[in-house]
């Protein structure tokens, strides 16, 4: 009672800071329509719908119920995911469970956010323990600033590397019509931006975007009939990390993080010994400019202390030998509930060769996509365009 699972339809809206002519359901509907059109299916062909976003961001609860007509879930099975930053990838993983178990033949997965409607920094601040940590947190970014600062101290990574990452991301995003911030920046531009949370300045943190991304997942019996270029979900791993505030920062660099755990699982289970050769592209959920160097190390892609040196050498650029986030990544587009779904969608587009102007120059056979958030949790997915 198991079958392999493929992505057979991909749809995402253009991302932006405001979209005053549309409510949330309408934004979602655009992404679903695009995904169904890509799969050449209608909503009638879908038997299961999974949706997810961030709690409180739009100021209403149970929004899966409120948006039922827009999502096409009426009369169908499915549920809402609510795992914070990882919601967009947990959506896809839940869809995988539904299809792999043969519970569903075709599952529609929707990640979305309308970031412009609420004080999202305040909303995120409510995820922390009010008795201990909440008064000291500044949305999602304060934890990232802490991690970045600790990484720089630990590895000797200079501030400029963050600017290189952001400048590279801006060039990628300029090529991606779905991205939110599409202006090109030089390293100098990034270095001179207004400081927000030291060491992160305004350009080194992800924006607040709105948009939606939808995927159609199908079992192997149907997948090839639906789409000539199915993208297979080969494996996935999730790891949760307990961080009441940042209690265990004292052990940073010495203990396993959620990235270390998921990376190790994926590489071991799939007999991958040289990940940066056997895998050709990584769509990383990189909400601040120091995530790429720090997490290349933590995922086990390179040795500790080498992450920022690889970036300096241009390895992670779109034309490099191991491109990271060639879509522009989370640094340029972040409608949180859809951010990790977009990572999977963009990795799949790279595998299909359909990424257009931001297609990487290297031939892609296997790709990684990650989700991050919900209190330092990580999802990691391994995708490929063949089943060999």
């Amino acid at each position: 009672m198991t079958q392999r699972v493929a992505i057979v339809g991909i749809g995402q809206t253009n991302h932006s800071g405001r979209r005053p002519y549309h409510n949330d359901g309408e934004v979602i509907y655009d992404a679903i329509s695009a995904a169904l059109a890509d799969a050449q299916l209608s909503i009638k062909d879908i038997d299961n719908v999974i949706i997810g976003d961030m709690e409180l961001f739009e100021g209403h609860s149970l929004n899966d119920a409120m948006l039922l007509d827009y999502t096409g879930a009426e009369g169908r099975s499915g549920f809402k995911m609510n795992t914070g930053g990882t919601v967009g990838s947990m959506n896809v993983i839940s869809g995988w469970y539904n299809v792999a178990s043969e519970f569903s033949d075709t599952t529609l997965v929707i990640g979305w956010e309308k970031h412009d409607e609420g004080p999202t920094t305040s909303a995120i601040t409510t995820i922390w323990d009010p008795a201990i940590n909440r008064p000291f947190e500044v949305g999602a970014i304060s934890g990232l600033a802490m991690i970045s600062n600790a990484y720089m101290t630990r590895s000797g990574c200079p501030l400029e590397v963050g600017a290189i990452v952001r400048a590279q991301a801006s060039d990628n995003a300029a090529r991606n019509p779905k991205a939110h911030l599409r202006e090109r920046y030089t390293v100098q531009d990034v270095m001179s931006a207004r400081m927000v949370l030291y060491p992160l300045n305004l350009l080194m943190i992800c924006p607040t975007s709105l948009g939606a991304c939808a995927l159609v997942l199908a079992g192997e019996k149907k997948a090839r009939k639906i789409n000539k270029k199915p993208v297979w979900i080969r494996d996935h791993a999730t790891a949760h990390q307990v961080t009441r505030g940042m209690d265990f920062m004292a052990e940073a660099g010495k203990i396993d993080t959620s990235m270390t755990v998921t990376g190790r699982k994926i590489f071991q289970r799939n007999h991958i010994t040289k990940p940066m050769e056997e895998i050709q592209v990584f769509e990383m959920y990189d909400p601040c400019a120091f995530c790429q160097p720090a997490w290349l190390e933590e995922f086990g892609l390179c040795e500790a202390g080498q992450g920022w040196r690889l970036i300096e050498k241009g390895v992670t650029a779109r034309e490099g030998s191991f491109p990271v986030s060639p879509s522009g990544g989370t640094l340029c587009t972040n409608a949180i509930g859809d951010t990790a779904t977009v990572r999977v969608a963009e990795a799949a587009l790279q595998l299909r060769g359909d990424a257009g102007e931001h297609q990487v120059t290297r031939e892609v056979k296997m790709a990684l996509a990650s989700g991050y958030g919900g209190m330092y949790w990580t999802d990691l997915l391994l995708l490929s365009n063949t089943l060999d």
């Binding site: 549309h22 509907y29 739009e58 827009y70 609420g118 004080p119 008795a131």
Partner: protein, 156 residues
């Protein structure tokens, strides 16, 4: 030792979550609310494919998943489908209890709208009774521009 700890005064952290939101209703619903504010008219939307009439408006048809873009005019009168009377008070309610809430199917519509029922003796509430909308003097283009629905008095 552990028992001794438990007997001391319980500790709490008290506070609020206070957050302003700005919710955009969308193009179609904007037209709907502007009609209520400017002309005291409750419109519906009609699916061009299956002809279902939906109030309050949704821009995707709940039956056939088709996109809807246009309003159709309705009379503002309707029939009570079901109702309740609230006796419970909480911080988020827009009216002081007791008050009646009804599900009202407007003439010409296929779906129903939920709102307060006013100018009525609760004992006289009955499914199937005819109701009409009463509007507030000051209107701000939101659903509370409709003050409530009241029973239609028989003429004569």
């Amino acid at each position: 030792m552990a028992n001794e700890v438990v007997k001391k005064e319980p500790m709490f952290t008290e506070g609020y979550v206070i957050m302003p939101y700005k919710y955009s209703v969308g193009t179609l619903a904007s037209k709907f609310f502007i009609e209520i504010r400017d002309h005291k008219k409750i419109n519906g939307v009609k699916c061009p494919k299956c002809n279902i009439v939906i109030v309050p408006p949704r821009s995707v048809c709940i039956k056939c998943f088709n996109k809807i873009e246009d309003l159709v005019e309705l009379s503002g009168k309707g029939t009570l489908v079901t109702y309740t009377v609230a006796h419970y008070d909480s911080a988020v309610q827009a009216m002081k209890p007791p008050y009646a809430i009804g599900v009202i199917k407007l003439d010409g519509a296929d779906t129903a709208i939920t709102h307060f029922i006013g100018e009525v003796d609760f004992k006289e509430l009955k499914a199937g009774m005819k109701l009409e909308a009463v509007f507030n003097e000051t209107r701000n283009a939101n659903i509370l521009d409709i003050k409530y629905f009241k029973p239609v008095k028989n003429k004569g």
